[in-house]
Symmetry: C2
């Protein structure tokens, strides 16, 4: 009965995610059940699970894209720039364009609030983190220009960026001015990458 004519699969998927996100923003992640999401989207529970593996993915469905961004940062860099530096520049660029990954896009606070309040969402973020790390490690292992422990570097980079992002999220949730937060974000990002490249005990680069 519902969805007459438009059986477009990817459209239903997006629709479900939209409806779900709306409900989550209204009432929090834990207080909304999958059945409610399904009903509100005019679809059955099983269909929801056909499009999303876990409840958490209803909210975090665009995160897998980040894996490709990470791979590209390493793969498509110029020959004379090191892998770490390429990743640093990519993240700085993401911050400048206020990309969602940097938590610097306008109006994202309610979304962030939902996430930080739900432990299972945090746990899911960790899994994604691991996937990004694995992708990065793989890319580094395949890169002839890079020598060293790719797995280690990937882990350090991802961990460092998490710290930077968490600080940024906190300031955004505290209601700080976006421009200020963005500036601090850039600075922290650079400090973190300096630490990775030159060591935590180094005073100044090079």
């Amino acid at each position: 009965m519902p969805n007459r004519g438009d059986r477009g699969g990817s459209r239903t998927r997006a629709h479900i995610a939209d409806v779900a996100t709306g409900l989550f923003l209204d009432r929090g992640f834990d207080d909304v059940t999958i059945v409610e999401v399904a009903a509100a989207a005019g679809v059955s529970k099983v269909t929801v699970f056909k499009h999303f593996d876990r409840k958490e993915d209803l909210l975090l469905d665009r995160l897998p894209d980040v894996v490709e961004i990470a791979r590209a940062a390493v793969r498509d860099r110029a020959d004379e720039v090191s892998a770490v530096e390429a990743i640093r520049q990519t993240l700085l660029a993401l911050a400048d364009e206020r990309h969602g990954l940097s938590a610097l896009d306008e109006g994202i606070e309610p979304f962030l609030r939902i996430v930080v309040e739900a432990p299972t969402l945090i746990a899911r973020l960790r899994v994604f983190e691991h996937e990004i790390e694995a992708a990065l490690a793989e890319e580094l292992a395949a890169d002839k220009r890079f020598s060293g422990d790719g797995a280690l570097l990937a882990a350090l980079v991802v961990a460092a960026y998490r710290i930077v992002a968490v600080a940024t999220v906190r300031r955004r949730l505290a209601g700080d001015e976006l421009a200020d937060v963005a500036a601090a974000h850039r600075q922290r990002l650079n400090q973190a990458f300096d630490a990775i490249e030159y060591g935590v005990s180094a005073r100044a680069p090079r």
Copy 2:
């Protein structure tokens, strides 16, 4: 009816954990239900959950101890040794005494196999990782001898050690000679900490 006379709480807890571990080793983590564990231990399902918050904790119940080890490493160090160095030495010592955390104790392979095969156990490990990281960060923040970004350092150290440990686990599961694995473990540990202290682009320390 069961447990006549010996209502010793902590004994029941240990008993449940033992029984559960046995079942997991026999048949894998996912193929054993909580109800089965409860039945085999002669208690009710609810009692199991009164002693352990999650199913995963039945197997990983000694992990919280690690938090204290981490705190002590930073807190109880000599004044002239840096925090990073103190952690490095602690982890080297753990490896030397074949502590479980280093995956270097004898006969641990079946246990490791169970863990690596169950994604939910891995996820739980990540949560513990986060707790250790948070504890470390807190300790560093409270430490007057330390200056710098404690959260960042904690994240880097924990991430680096995970990489080292994962490599060690892999070699142990591949059946490599324990002495060889232990030596490689030490070496990787030192390389990882050199990278943190002096940077990934540094060729030699200092």
